[in-house]
Symmetry: C2
Subunit: 317 residues, 2 copies
């Protein structure tokens, strides 16, 4: 079978043997995968990752200990906890100190024809969610995570910075939750996609409104995003950080201290709320697919995904 390999910033495609399934794991055939900004950050050197990347997927279970799983279409939680620590016991295996993370940290990812994942990480998809929507379950869960962390009263204004994939998902999730969302971005065609999903959008000119929002989400994926978000937050406001950026970012600590801002780091979320949103048709994701590329052309797909103006690139086996 073929698999994508990432090493020292180079992406190539290799022929490798099928993965071995351990007890408790399911063997999964890839149906579709998505390239995430985190994959591009891994390529830039984040985590010094070497191996098979990929963590956004829809697949079909082909082997498992639990017979009812076989043949089912699934998505999966990407963090693999130890199952025994205080975090795992709280259902927060995504903070387990000994976790591996699918395609990110000591766990081969999904950019290959077949891969394994613990059965307990899997969620069976209802028939009503097509593949090209289900593949957004993981980033959508990351967007939903904000609501598990920060109280956002219905009707309250929230600024979302960044019209990339995550920004558009965050904007939709917060809008469904009842917030008055203003999405700030630089790309007319991306903002148009968000606007079609019912989001109020603002094209960023040079000036952003200062000290204007009690809640700001930085989903720019850029090193500048945090300082922009801090400048847009009112005193005693909250800035949610959804951008993972490789390397240290220069940070105006006095803005945080003097204005008593609360900065909340936010990463992966639970898949269940994301699947509910997809099942109920509450968010629009298909328009975010910029291209579908065969797995064997993964190097070109990575280059495309890193191109300005491109949203989601899917890989098809």
């Amino acid at each position: 079978m073929i698999a994508v390999h990432l090493e020292n910033g180079r992406v190539d495609v290799r022929r490798i043997p099928w993965p071995r399934r351990r007890p408790g794991d399911a063997l999964i055939r890839l149906i579709a995968a998505g390239i995430c900004n985190t994959d591009l950050e891994l390529q830039r050197g984040y985590y010094r990752y070497r191996g098979i990347p990929g963590h956004e997927f829809v697949g079909e279970v082909v082997q498992a200990d639990t017979p009812r799983l076989v043949g089912k279409r699934v998505v999966g939680e990407i963090n693999l906890g130890c199952g025994r620590c205080e975090w795992c016991k709280q259902g927060l295996g995504r903070h387990c100190a000994n976790r591996t993370v699918l395609g990110i940290l000591r766990q081969p990812g999904v950019f290959q024809e077949y891969f394994t994942l613990p059965e307990q990480n899997l969620h069976i998809l209802p028939d009503s969610i097509p593949n090209e929507e289900a593949v957004f379950a993981e980033p959508l869960a990351a967007a939903c995570e904000i609501l598990d962390q920060v109280r956002i009263p219905a009707g309250s204004p929230v600024a979302v910075l960044g019209d990339g994939k995550l920004g558009i998902l965050v904007a939709q999730v917060l809008r469904v939750h009842g917030a008055e969302v203003h999405l700030y971005g630089r790309h007319a065609h991306k903002l148009k996609i968000a606007a079609a999903a019912g989001i109020a959008t603002r094209r960023c000119a040079k000036r952003l409104p200062l000290a204007a929002y009690e809640r700001v989400v930085d989903a720019t994926g850029s090193a500048e995003g945090l300082n922009l978000a801090l400048a847009m937050a009112k005193p005693r406001g909250t800035v949610v950080m959804k951008s993972t950026v490789h390397g240290a970012v220069p940070f105006d600590t006095s803005a945080v201290v003097v204005n008593e801002i609360t900065v909340v780091g936010s990463r992966c979320g639970r898949l269940a709320p994301a699947l509910r949103l997809l099942r109920d048709g509450e968010v629009r994701v298909r328009e975010m697919i910029s291209a579908r590329v065969p797995l064997r052309d993964a190097p070109q797909a990575f280059t495309l995904a890193a191109t300005s103006g491109i949203l989601k690139v899917l890989l098809d086996p």
Copy 2:
């Protein structure tokens, strides 16, 4: 009368006329003032401040619109709000966008023999609080501010980083509140002062405990403090930033995002809880006075205050 003047990093003492008292203001005779780390940061270029610094004081009212104030010993809130905006109306004039700040922002400070402050900023001191304790009211209020922002359950462990003036005050305030405080510092004699006040202290060797505390307060006053505090916080933990540092600080955003840390900026606080702590003898502050220097020797006092190992330097008129 004499006044301290700060400009381009230079501190000198000048002879100037008495300040003019505007309606609503009190004219105050300085009894004692404290040099704060913020004063040293102003000297290093923070806020590009030019003028009379100083915001920690005890004084005696010599003229006021309100007769009962005259002759009283007072301390004062250092933020002067507009009195009309949403912040001022909530009693949070310290976040008023048009505020001036005593000795920090467009308002002459207290390092002079006489100064003015709005009557509404003043708190009359009970006789039971002597001058050399009352002069700590303002930094103690800044320490108390944490309790207005972050919920700290009784008995829960909190790490406080930094055995400087603010760190020792924060440690004491949190201990009185009921937290299990561990104060981390580098100076044996400073830690000894904290230990005498009932604080459990830890001398920092090279290694600090990683991912060990749900709550960490950075009171190091240094650019490195924030990243150390982030490393010591457990996933989903809270880091309180009490350090104001001049300039941008390189900041490991991925630690915040991946571990979903909440970072809370914290600045000035209300004087009332600080005065209650001093009145009830709940905190020990006198041992923190390293030196008392006449106002006319302010340049030497600034140099002394910036010397490693020195805690509070008081200025006497």
